[in-house]
């Protein structure tokens, strides 16, 4: 039953272990890693886009394809982040905020691209025409105006304030009012056209850049990263808790397995002991079968000793109740029996006996309720007591009992069940011995009767011989050779010796 309980506990703990294992490993670590990677990708793409925007602004970007790819990359990363953060409301709100910022940035980047393409072109043309007109021999009178315009434009590239823009506008107006040399007319016209475009675009582009770089995308991305990281840490902490529980449960499982092992070991030992006991019982029974009547007493005492050793008892005894009360005792180290013991055991067995298995077992006599029984055990020095018995017409007819007076101990019920076989074997041996003794006694009496009969026959034959010749020897010899049928009356007497 205990093993059954242990097995149930084992199954329960295994189930618990499995559940804890799942909870301990289900940290969505790959999901967190993926989301963190996407967050880092957003930051990286955003930085790359801003870098490319600045490169384009100074004319170092080869083409605008990278800006388009970055737009797609940001959208893709945001979509992945949305997908992975459905259950985290704070992260979702932050992602929504980043998404809005990215859309704003996208619009700014597109506006920048459009303006910057014109800006770079007009810069090139402005430089071209300014250089050419400055070198023109026919337009020398306009050189101060060209130089002033170039200086104002240079200032505008550094300072896109309204004043600087107004200064450029003033210079352009001044140049427009001056009559160019005929050969320079087209160049001046183109210069003014590109100048006006630059005067308009420079503040716009710089304004676009300022707006773009003012977008707090990176800080929001970092905020999102912190949220996801915090969520990851929480999940990891939970997983750690489950791992601790898992470890505890593993130890519990180990304890249960050890307990189960012990129980199985104890069961094995019990079975071995039981087998040994059965073997011993068989051996004892065989000895009884092959024994001579006068050896039965010795064999019983030997069997008691062997059984006591098997039962780890200090004393064993067999009591045959009834008129011809017999008692056989084996004591460890030949210790003397306490006064009145083990007859008292018979009385105690009468007290404790119950209907059923004919087994009495008291593991700890000191734990018996106070009373005569406890006192009896105490006075006899018996600390554990077990017995099997047979019921007779007047109560217990036969009792096989074991005492432990050194250390208390428990005798397995199954072993006691086997001891009933020993009790039966001993009781049978005693009965057989009694029968043998009775037979021997009867044979002795029969022989005595035969002698008497022979004496009687001799006596009567001599009388007859005295009366008739030659008959005595024949009759006497015949009677000696085959005494039974000689006298029917005598046979009947032998059949009923009592």
């Amino acid at each position: 039953m205990k093993t059954c309980h242990t097995l149930v506990a084992l199954v329960v703990v295994l189930g618990l272990l499995l559940w804890l294992s799942i909870r301990a490993i289900d940290t969505d670590s790959s999901g967190f890693d993926r989301r963190l990677a996407e967050i880092d990708r957003v930051a990286m793409i955003n930085n790359a886009q801003r870098r490319d925007v600045l490169s384009a602004r100074v004319g170092l970007l080869r083409d605008y394809d990278s800006l388009a790819r970055q737009r797609d990359g940001l959208e893709g990363a945001i979509a992945i982040l949305r997908q992975g953060q459905k259950n985290l409301s704070s992260a979702t709100a932050t992602i929504d905020g980043i998404s809005v910022l990215i859309k704003q940035q996208e619009a700014l980047v597109e506006r920048f691209s459009s303006d910057n393409a014109l800006l770079q072109n007009s810069f090139a043309y402005f430089g071209l025409f300014t250089s050419r007109l400055g070198a023109s021999e026919e337009g020398q009178r306009n050189v101060p105006a060209f130089s002033a315009l170039a200086a104002a434009m240079l200032h505008l590239t550094l300072d896109t304030s309204k004043d600087a823009a107004q200064d450029v506008a003033t210079r352009l107006d001044e140049l427009a009012t001056q009559a160019p040399a005929p050969s320079d007319a087209r160049s001046v016209k183109a210069l003014i056209a590109h100048g006006w475009l630059l005067q308009k675009l420079l503040p716009e582009v710089n304004g676009t850049l300022k707006s773009l770089f003012a977008l707090p995308i990176n800080s929001e991305v970092m905020h999102l990263r912190e949220i996801v990281k915090a969520s990851q840490n929480t999940t990891r902490a939970t997983a750690t808790t489950f791992r601790i529980l898992l470890s505890i449960t593993s130890l519990l499982l180990l304890a249960i397995l050890v307990r189960l092992g012990h129980q199985l070991h104890a069961r094995t030992l019990m079975l071995q002991r039981r087998a040994a006991l059965e073997h011993k019982l068989a051996e004892i029974s065989t000895r009884f079968i092959n024994s001579r009547p006068d050896d039965v007493g010795r064999l019983i005492e030997q069997a008691l000793g062997e059984l006591a050793i098997e039962m780890n008892a200090n004393r064993a005894y067999l009591i045959l109740a009834g008129a011809s009360r017999q008692i056989y005792v084996w004591s460890e180290d030949g210790a003397a029996r306490p006064l009145g013991w083990p007859y008292q055991a018979l009385a105690l067995a009468m007290q404790f006996r119950q209907a059923g298995e004919n087994i009495i077992r008291i593991t700890r006599t000191d734990r018996l309720p106070p009373g005569d029984e406890a006192e009896a055990f105490l006075s006899a020095g018996v600390r554990s007591w077990a017995c099997v018995y047979r019921n007779g017409t007047d109560g217990i007819s036969c009792l096989l009992s074991f005492d432990k007076f050194k250390t208390p101990g428990r005798v397995p019920t199954r072993d006691l069940g086997l001891l009933r076989m020993a009790l039966d074997a001993m009781a049978t041996a005693l009965e057989r011995r009694n029968l043998e003794l009775e037979r021997t006694r009867l044979e002795t009496r029969l022989q005595q009767a035969h002698r008497l009969e022979t004496v009687g026959a001799l006596t009567s034959g001599r009388d007859s011989w005295l009366r008739r010749d030659g008959g005595v020897d024949v009759r006497v010899r015949k009677t000696e050779r085959d005494p039974a049928p000689a006298n029917p009356t005598c046979r009947r007497k032998r059949a009923r010796p009592d």
Binding site: D65, S113, A117, Y125, L128, R132
Partner: protein, 305 residues
């Protein structure tokens, strides 16, 4: 952006001064990449849908009606006709290399090929289709249903329909043009005139907007920076790709430039404030003709009006 100055007249101001060894690593134009690998069955499904007139309300026109992939991916007409027989407001863009543009349509109002396809299918001017009805109709075609099942492991629906068309359009790239070969290191791929045209194209500033893998298609721009170019509306346009430009006349969003020479001349004036010389126009056009690639192993060719 370098502008080279070599004196005398404006027409001759931008004499090429490029280093003799050019590399695509430093060029503002990059070769067309290989088409992304796609399930062949998906391409087959996309093509079947692309040419299927059941996708229009009238059942008389398909995507292929205006985007003829057997020629230039568009039509040769200035304006294609709407469902009601009237003319559309804008010239039809080629579908070739559309996947390389950052937005679709002249106005750039479609962010993806799928969005463009869905809008075109449902537009009462273009296809006028009710996609739910189209899906129901297609669901009665066992061959198409089998293809949908094979590709999507499911029956036809709106998103799968649009996705298949988008996947097919994404495969409509035209690599193999001579200019890409030159970018790849084949110095004999371009004649001196064509190379002169490329250098002029860059030095004039055309490259400011027409750059990248699609030679355009990656930013918006006003169409009348210095002077009016064509129809004023839309005022801001997605810069068109110049890939296969020689095969897609007429030009501009209103199809008002019948020839490439005219388009180049007008672009110089309107967008750069430059009156291009005949020589400049000639060499630029010569360069632009080197941007004609191949589709399915055949050079892209012009379409008859």
């Amino acid at each position: 952006m370098a502008v080279f100055v070599c004196g005398r007249g404006l027409a001759e101001a931008f004499v090429p001064d490029f280093p003799s060894q050019l590399s695509s690593d430093v060029e503002p134009i990059t070769p067309i990449p290989s088409a992304p690998p796609v399930n062949p069955a998906k391409l087959e499904l996309g093509y079947r849908l692309f040419e299927d007139p059941r996708l229009s309300a009238s059942g008389t026109r398909s995507c292929l009606s205006c985007h003829d992939t057997r020629t230039n991916g568009a039509s040769g007409r200035r304006f294609d006709t709407a469902l009601d027989g009237s003319l559309l407001a804008l010239n039809t863009n080629t579908v070739f290399n559309a996947a390389l543009s950052f937005r679709q349509n002249w106005e750039g109002d479609a962010r993806t090929l799928e969005a463009q396809a869905e809008a075109a299918l449902q537009s009462p001017r273009f296809m006028g289709a009710d996609l739910n009805s189209v899906v129901q109709t297609l669901s009665k075609d066992p061959d198409l249903v089998r293809l949908f099942q094979q590709v999507y492991d499911g029956a036809p629906d709106r998103s799968r329909l649009v996705d298949a068309i988008g996947a097919y359009e994404r495969s409509l790239l035209t690599p193999g043009c001579r200019f890409d070969a030159w970018l790849g290191g084949d110095r004999a791929a371009l004649s001196s005139e064509e190379l002169d045209g490329y250098q002029t194209f860059k030095s004039l500033g055309c490259i400011s907007c027409h750059q990248g893998v699609n030679v355009g298609g990656n930013l918006f721009e006003r169409n009348d920076v210095f002077h009016p170019l064509a129809a004023q509306q839309p005022a801001v346009l997605r810069v068109p790709s110049l890939r296969n430009i020689a095969t897609t006349p007429p030009y501009f969003h209103d199809g008002s430039a019948a020839t490439l020479d005219d388009a180049v001349r007008r672009m110089g004036a309107a967008q750069l404030n430059v009156d291009l010389s005949v020589h400049q126009i000639t060499v630029i056009v010569a360069f632009l003709k080197t941007l004609t690639g191949s589709y399915e192993g055949h050079p892209v060719k012009g379409s008859t009006p």
